[in-house]
């Protein structure tokens, strides 16, 4: 597997677009492309969310995203994979993360995409703070 061409990693302050992620995983051997888009929800446990602030430990976050992509490629017959994550201030409806995976057949694309977003949430050093009308909280910090 050639990691330069098959893995697309992006961590950016700029608004994320879905199309570039999809384009980056198109491959002649792919019969399926699965895409996950994480967006900013307007509430958490009935509290109104006004915005999210994402902070990243940039060099390590990029490194961990690459490792994650490599792990997905080792476990499924991935043609190409894209992991694009936003940082900075996001508002309701904004895209926080886009993951796209292409594989020969759909089952592997679904599974690899789910693995990637689930594991990203556990290993990649990115943090989000939810800002409500009446306060703010770092997500998942406390038990």
């Amino acid at each position: 597997m050639n990691s330069d061409d098959t893995i697309s990693i992006l961590l950016t302050d700029e608004p994320l677009q879905v199309d570039p992620a999809i384009r980056s995983v198109q491959a002649e051997g792919a019969g399926a492309i699965d895409v996950f888009i994480g967006t900013v929800r307007n509430n958490t446990q009935r509290r109104t969310v006004t915005r999210l602030d994402f902070e990243a430990y940039d060099p390590m976050a990029v490194k961990e995203m690459k490792k994650l992509a490599v792990r997905a490629c080792e476990q499924w017959p991935v043609e190409k994979i894209a992991i694009h994550h936003r940082k900075g201030t996001l508002y309701v409806g904004d895209i926080a993360v886009v993951i796209a995976v292409s594989t020969p057949h759909r089952q592997a694309a679904f599974e690899a995409c789910k693995f990637t977003i689930d594991t990203l949430k556990q290993t990649v050093p990115i943090w989000k703070k939810e800002i409500f009308d009446d306060g703010e909280v770092w997500v998942s910090a406390h038990p």
């Binding site: 994480g38 994402f54 902070e55 990243a56 430990y57 060099p59 390590m60 976050a61 490194k63 994550h85 926080a96 993360v97 977003i117 990203l120 949430k121 556990q122 290993t123 990649v124 050093p125 990115i126 943090w127 989000k128 703070k129 770092w138 997500v139 998942s140 910090a141 406390h142 038990p143």
Partner: protein, 80 residues
């Protein structure tokens, strides 16, 4: 030795700065650092977890720290 520790998310709020210079005895390990920091900043006890990254990798259990390492505290991550 004096370590340079990068702080993110809630650990930045608890310690009150983005970078911390912190004295530890030579030969101190990852768990030594976490234990000492929790004594200095008791609010760290309240977190679900506090991990340490050494040179952009998650630190190993008994890994020894060096003054030249880039060290970061990693509170529970919440990307995505």
């Amino acid at each position: 030795m004096e370590l340079n520790i990068l702080l993110f998310g809630i650990t930045k709020d608890i310690i009150g700065q983005q970078k911390l210079r912190y004295k530890m005895p030579a030969g101190a390990t990852v768990p030594d650092l976490v234990e000492q920091l929790k004594k200095s900043y008791p609010e760290l006890h309240d977190l679900d977890s506090v991990l340490v990254a050494v040179n952009n990798e998650y630190g190993q259990k008994q890994q020894e720290l060096r003054e030249s390492d880039e060290i970061a505290l990693i509170p529970p991550v919440s990307g995505g």
